[in-house]
Symmetry: C2
Subunit: 386 residues, 2 copies
Amino acid sequence: MRGVSIIGIGTTRYGILEGQSIKEMATFACNDAIHDAGIDRKQIEAFYLGNYISGMIIRQETLAPLVGGSIGLRKEVPCTKVEGACSSASIALRHGYLLIAAGVYDIVLVAGAEKMSSAPIEKLTASLGASIDMETEGLTGLTFPGFWALMARRHMHEFGTTIEQLAMVAVKNHKNGSLNPRARFRNIITLENVINSRLITDPLKLYDCCPISDGASAAVLCASHLAKEFSNNPVEIVGSVQTTGFSTLFEQGQQISLPATILAGKLAFEMSGLKPQDIDIVEIHDCFTPAEIVDSEDLGFFEKGKGGWAVLDGVTQPDGKLPINPSGGLLCKGHPVGATGLGQIYEVVRQLRDEHENQIKGAQIGLTHNAGGTGAVCTVHILKRR
Amino acid sequence: MRGVSIIGIGTTRYGILEGQSIKEMATFACNDAIHDAGIDRKQIEAFYLGNYISGMIIRQETLAPLVGGSIGLRKEVPCTKVEGACSSASIALRHGYLLIAAGVYDIVLVAGAEKMSSAPIEKLTASLGASIDMETEGLTGLTFPGFWALMARRHMHEFGTTIEQLAMVAVKNHKNGSLNPRARFRNIITLENVINSRLITDPLKLYDCCPISDGASAAVLCASHLAKEFSNNPVEIVGSVQTTGFSTLFEQGQQISLPATILAGKLAFEMSGLKPQDIDIVEIHDCFTPAEIVDSEDLGFFEKGKGGWAVLDGVTQPDGKLPINPSGGLLCKGHPVGATGLGQIYEVVRQLRDEHENQIKGAQIGLTHNAGGTGAVCTVHILKRR
């Protein structure tokens, strides 16, 4: 397998992007990435687009050829939409990676996009829940705030994780996001703000939940041996893994881990020859505050049950031993579902290029973790400065 | 690139499969293919599932890990849904092909599934139209019967194609389908039946249109050098191409061809080193009767404008020079959108194994053509008996 590098990144800001359609957002992010890579768009050999709920929310499917046409790709270029709930964009990334690594293509464009803000909230909530098995747990009315509330309660019961520890994740990520011009929210919040915010699903309050957002992100991938032709600061993909979990909570048999995350982390570290302690910066799928804690343990950064304490102790702050979500994460930057995986990549690449607005000094190796549905699918990528 | 063979095929019948969910249908087809291949399911290294409108119609997304779990795949196996409207299943097939050909995997399971019959017809029609660009032509209210009616009228105007020629496609495909136990319809119809059937969109009558159907189909792919370990009658994939067209009719600039089909056919013949006259049997995307005529020309089987005459002259009958849609095609076998591409593969593999209910004697090489949306995406596969 050949080395694969990211030579261009592009994104919209995340938020309520009124008047911008999903096609426009995706086109913008792709053009931004193509411009950043300095390639001619005619050099692109394949295009993968991650998207989750566009069909359900705005009744627009078959987005990949639509956006491919809008960007002006050649008609020989296969344009493929991939879907894995919140992991959709990183599944797109993985396909670009795999097909370059295997020598099928030299240059691939990957993107993710989601338009959420134009839909009524009831439709959104129902659509977001559509990644749960609708024949079993979906029928009970379980949605994702409920899923993560159950996970949080069990984690609190087993390990003494506290409401303050959960809230501290939101406080940290909002402070980080306040520095990020791409973030939906730019306000600093306090523990008190979080704990006193509106109850959503006990024990989760409003600020424990990521906001509905619009957005699109993209990247241009290239065989590493060609990367220096285009870029002075390519970032190499040294780990790329996609695993499968469960489409319900009850099948998992426990409520303190996502098995797909544990497995994806293990395989990504094996693939890269790295260990958790080698990672300088992490973007984790913090769709809800307990998710960041659970995921940081499942990825091997902290012992099971210690993730909440790590947050409270400042270990995951930008100046801590392992900065987690210096972008602001899903909680503050926003979570346009089908775009998020590449939004995380955008932030990590900027860190590894030394050009982030919340720069972690000396960051050489970054990891992104992107989980879909009830952990039905999980992707982990490890990126390295070349 | 290594050779890739199909060592197992599986399918439900196509039709109104009351009481069978999309998960159940996909699971059945996959298990059928795994059984046919004689592999242990633990040997499967990746799973691709094509699906189009499950999110919009029955609010079930993230189907690939859901079905992967239902089949009992290992959790290391990436389970990915791909979407390209009516081409979804053949995009799944192409990904299995590509990743085995490139040496990433040895054994891959691919499937397609669609549950349509449980949705109200207005919702179905709107959802089927969601592959058209909703910011432009979709806003005009154009749906697929309208698209193909416009194509038909222009073809009639330019080349003198007749209502009888269109109708003859339906007559032929119903006769073929009457022999196929997997077909939704088993009735023989006459030219008079077609021409006197209810008007849908002038000039298309009811029998010019494929029926809404449920169904799922699957295949097990394997590196060709390993195929004989499992199968006495593997079928090699010698051409596999996915191209991009237009997400609207107006951008095409003409209404007598689908550019993505012309390009995909050309590239698939180049890839396989074969010519149109080498093909013994074809399954074409006959979603409407004019589509079979237009596609058969675009693929190079007949000169532009002569496709209608070829049907009338019996050239495309099972005993003709080039049998087209001996399965009954989408018009009679049915068109569960996200499954169809692999349904075509199922039929051709049975032909190349000499075990089809409507067997074409001596069939050695078959071609499948699967087009998505307004020709926004097109896939062509060429299969060869080993």
